[in-house]
Amino acid sequence: MDRDAPKPTGWKKVKTLLQEETQGIHPRLMALNAVGKLLPGGRATLARAQLFSLAGFRIGRGTRFVSSPVINGGAALFSNLVIGDDCVIDTGCVFDLEERITLADRVTLSPGVMLLTSTHELDIREHRAGPVQLAPVTIGEGAWLGARCVILPGVTIGAGAIVNPGSVVNKDVLAQTRVGGMPATQLEVLAGPGEARA
């Protein structure tokens, strides 16, 4: 919303208001959520992933969902989520699909993980949350995100990384490392593929 723009009047006002009110309506997403409620929860199932690919999301083979994640985003919502093969998405995850979210193969999202792609510029003191800024989020192969962690916009998580539960990740995470804390810092370097376990 642009604060300084002149306020529209008359018919133009009605039109912009209608546009604002209807842009959040995605019939396909509503149908997806309604059907998703009928599916059994509590167990990671392929059926829910099938349902998501039917609705138009790009989801790899063998990916399982425990429950339907919360999804919000604009018009390009369906093309903005790409999930690889053999991933597991646990309960109560949040995908903010204003920009692209990419999960590579064998990624595990624990309960309540939040992947954000929209934030604000820091603005003047009278209105700190300035213009909206969008940035994609990418999760590398085999990474594991702990319960209730928050991944902020623009972050890339390397392959085989582990994010501790409850941490807030605001910058990129190197491959084969464990990070944690608020904001997340590197805690450990993990053994990569083919390396001996330390």
Binding site: R125, E126, V150, G166, V168, M182
Partner: protein, 145 residues
């Protein structure tokens, strides 16, 4: 539409403020009268207001996803029952503040004008104006315009 529904049910909301998705309002009695929101505010999905006491939001405030405002206070001195209800305390958020996703505002907290609270932060003490909170760090951003 959500904003209109809230206005109709008696929540005081200033002009040009928007709620994206219905917030959860809980508490006893006339809860709608205890929440007041200023002008040009934006509330993202799933905001949670526990309206045991009043919650006052200033103008130009932005609130991220899953933000919780808690007003019910507890007395923890009894070892047999740590969560003993102990009245309530109001929350005030100053003009221009920005609360990041998933942060929790505890009872009685006053957030100063122009402060920014990072994602997932639990705010248990008052925040002076123009502070940036991220994790356990506090930085002044008063020089930032």
């Amino acid at each position: 539409m959500t904003t209109l529904a809230l206005r109709l049910s008696g929540v005081q909301i200033g002009g040009a403020s928007i709620f994206w998705g219905m917030p959860k309002l809980v508490g006893p009695g006339n809860i709608c009268a205890r929440l007041s929101v200023g002008t040009y505010c934006g509330f993202n999905a799933r905001a949670y207001f526990e309206l045991e006491d009043t919650i006052t939001i200033g103008d130009h405030v932005a609130v991220g996803q899953d933000v919780m405002f808690l007003t019910a206070a507890y007395d923890t001195s009894d070892p047999a029952r740590r969560a003993k209800p102990k009245g309530s305390a109001p929350i005030e958020v100053g003009n221009g503040a920005w609360l990041g996703a998933r942060c929790t505002i505890m009872p009685g907290v006053k957030i100063g004008a122009g402060s920014v609270i990072g994602a997932s932060v639990v705010v248990a003490n008052d925040v002076p104006p123009n502070m940036l909170l991220m994790g356990s760090r506090r930085v002044s951003i008063a020089k930032w315009r």
